[in-house]
């Protein structure tokens, strides 16, 4: 077997893709993207002074102790905040933007309670409030899907929808 050596350390990618039940941060003005938000909630965090941005894509509102923290809005935000702080971000400077949490279908099996989308938005708000982080813009609810792109240079969050068109928060 050949041995490969390389002195190029991993290049910092301009675009970082955030999966579902996943989060990521960027420090080099990276663009963070995530797609396919239906009832899922997207939380964009930005510290302009430190130049640190982060994006979480959570499926469910509150953590299940055995689950992957990134899957839930509460623990996903906590975990992303911790990583951003390690990179020099300060909670007092971080602002948040929310997108997603729609109720696309009225499932019979959900028994008419609050939709998961609504509960996701509530859980995200509650966790951000706990840390004193302001939500400066949001595009939540409705009955359509969204894809997101967070510009790490400006903190702009582009929201793409097949129904309502594109907008920048």
């Amino acid at each position: 077997m050949q041995v490969y050596t390389t002195d190029t350390t991993s290049t910092h990618s301009a675009r970082i893709k955030v999966g579902i039940a996943d989060y990521a941060f960027g420090t080099d003005g990276n663009t963070l993207t995530t797609s396919g938000l239906g009832s899922c909630i997207g939380v964009a965090l930005y510290d302009a002074e430190a130049g640190v941005s982060g994006l979480a894509h959570a499926m469910l509102p509150e953590a299940d102790p055995d689950g992957d923290p990134a899957k839930f809005a509460d623990t996903g935000i906590e975990a992303l905040l911790a990583e951003m702080r390690d990179e020099g971000a300060d909670t007092s400077r971080i602002v948040a933007k929310l997108a997603g949490g729609s109720a696309m279908f009225d499932f019979e099996s959900s028994n008419g309670g609050k939709s998961i989308g609504e509960r996701n938005v509530e859980a995200a708000r509650k966790t951000l409030e706990k840390h004193g982080i302001d939500i400066v813009a949001e595009d939540v609810g409705g009955s359509h899907g969204r894809s997101l792109e967070l510009d790490g240079k400006t903190g702009d969050l582009r929201v793409r929808s097949a129904k309502t068109g594109d907008q920048t928060l």
Binding site: T6, T8, I20, T33, G36, G38, M104, F107, S147, K163
Partner: protein, 395 residues
């Protein structure tokens, strides 16, 4: 050979961490940021896999492995992705086109690094030694990739024998490169892995096979029903069951816009189903149901709902018969949105009670590409397991 949901979870985690290692080695080697999108444990027949390679016109590099485990790993690319990868490895060099010596040898090198790393993970888990062969480059469909899969000393009994395929979808977003990393263990090796995961109360693989046959029959029925309704000949291109982490379900779809219907089904098992068309397909199928009419949006929606109803009953009726249960279907809800976002709420409903899902997906298409219809069914995991128990041969 017995399988159970817990060993499937072990497989899925192993395959995923192996794929992440493989992706990491490509990132380090070439500075190409590579992500693992979805890891699936697929249960299909040899013919299914063969068909997929042929239809997608794949370029692939194969590496056999033997010792503690026997089988084949394959790195498979569309010709365009292969070209972009070679170009990213050697920017500015001529000869990145598929088939040149330079392209072939760089793809082989990439495969050696990635597949080697992937197999190392399994060897560590099983605490054994696994040797790998030198890479073989296979250009598309001419000589049947599965024959190659078997050339290393094991053979599947027949084309219809069920095989387990570990499939990882990888992506280098910056360079628009997408590729699949497959691992096909020999039947004996599957036993080895199942034994190592040490699970009891497993279901015989025949139950999964019987279920997989049932899915194939359902897809055939749905295809026949579409043909009867539209007068256009259709065939089933893919029909398979895979086991995926729940978040991998929406990630299996792209963010291109799809139109179709979503339904719930109730019974043993209950679950969700989405019947989706790309936009040109939806237009074509609506037109074929409204011959000679302009048809406003409301009429087109109801035509799509009608076809969704027909496809769903065709697809699910056989399940109820085989399983000896009743499965009821909700009215179809029309959807027109980002593909992955349509499936996201379905997966999320199930995510409240399960971490993994059995994803059943079938593709029905016309010979002349007039339309393609994708069916995604997501049964409740626990209820499906109960249903599978009923399919188990009497002990």
């Amino acid at each position: 050979m017995n399988l159970d949901v817990r060993s499937l979870r072990t497989f899925s985690r192993l395959a995923h961490s192996g794929a992440e290692k493989a992706a990491g080695s490509l990132t380090t080697l070439a500075g190409i940021d590579t992500y693992v999108n979805v890891t699936k444990v697929e249960l299909g027949t040899k013919t299914d896999v063969e068909q997929e390679f042929a239809e997608r016109d794949l370029v692939s590099v194969h590496i056999g492995f033997s010792g503690g485990l026997d089988g084949r790993t394959v790195l498979a690319f569309s010709p365009e992705s292969a070209e972009r990868l070679v170009d990213a490895l050697m920017p500015g060099m001529d000869g990145a086109e598929t088939g040149t010596e330079l392209a072939t040898s760089s793809l082989k090198e990439v495969a050696n690094i990635m597949l080697g790393g992937f197999i190392d993970g399994w060897a560590d888990y099983l605490d054994t030694t696994i040797d790998i062969t030198t890479p073989t480059y296979v250009d598309d469909d001419s000589d049947g990739p599965l024959e190659n899969l078997e050339s290393d000393g094991f053979e599947h009994e027949s084309d219809n024998e069920h095989i387990l395929v570990f499939r990882n979808q990888l992506e280098a977003a910056d360079d628009a490169i997408e590729f699949d990393l497959y691992m096909v263990p020999s039947p004996d090796s599957i036993e080895t892995i199942v034994d190592a995961s040490g699970q009891h109360g497993a279901l015989p693989v025949q139950s999964f096979a019987a279920f997989s046959d049932m899915i194939a029959d359902g897809a055939d029925q749905a295809s026949a029903d579409i043909t009867a309704m539209t007068g256009i000949d259709t065939t089933v291109e893919v029909s398979r069951m895979s086991f995926v982490p729940i978040e991998g379900v929406p990630m299996s779809l792209t963010d291109s816009v799809r139109r179709g219907v979503v339904l719930e089904f109730f019974g043993t098992p209950s679950g969700y189903i989405a019947i989706l068309f790309d936009e040109p397909s939806a237009d074509n199928i609506a037109s074929s149901l409204l011959p000679g009419m302009e048809g406003d949006e409301a009429m087109r929606q109801s035509a799509i709902q009608e076809i969704g109803n027909i496809v769903t009953s065709g697809f699910l009726d056989g399940w109820a018969n085989t399983l000896g249960t009743t499965i009821d279907i909700s009215p179809p809800k029309h959807v027109h949105d980002i593909g992955s976002a349509i499936v996201d709420p379905l997966a999320t409903e199930l995510a409240q009670s399960q971490e993994y899902a059995f994803l059943i997906d079938s593709t029905i298409r016309t010979d002349d590409d007039e339309f393609t219809c994708d069916i995604y069914a997501l049964p409740n995991e626990e209820e499906l397991r109960k249903a599978l128990e009923q399919l188990s041969p009497a002990v």
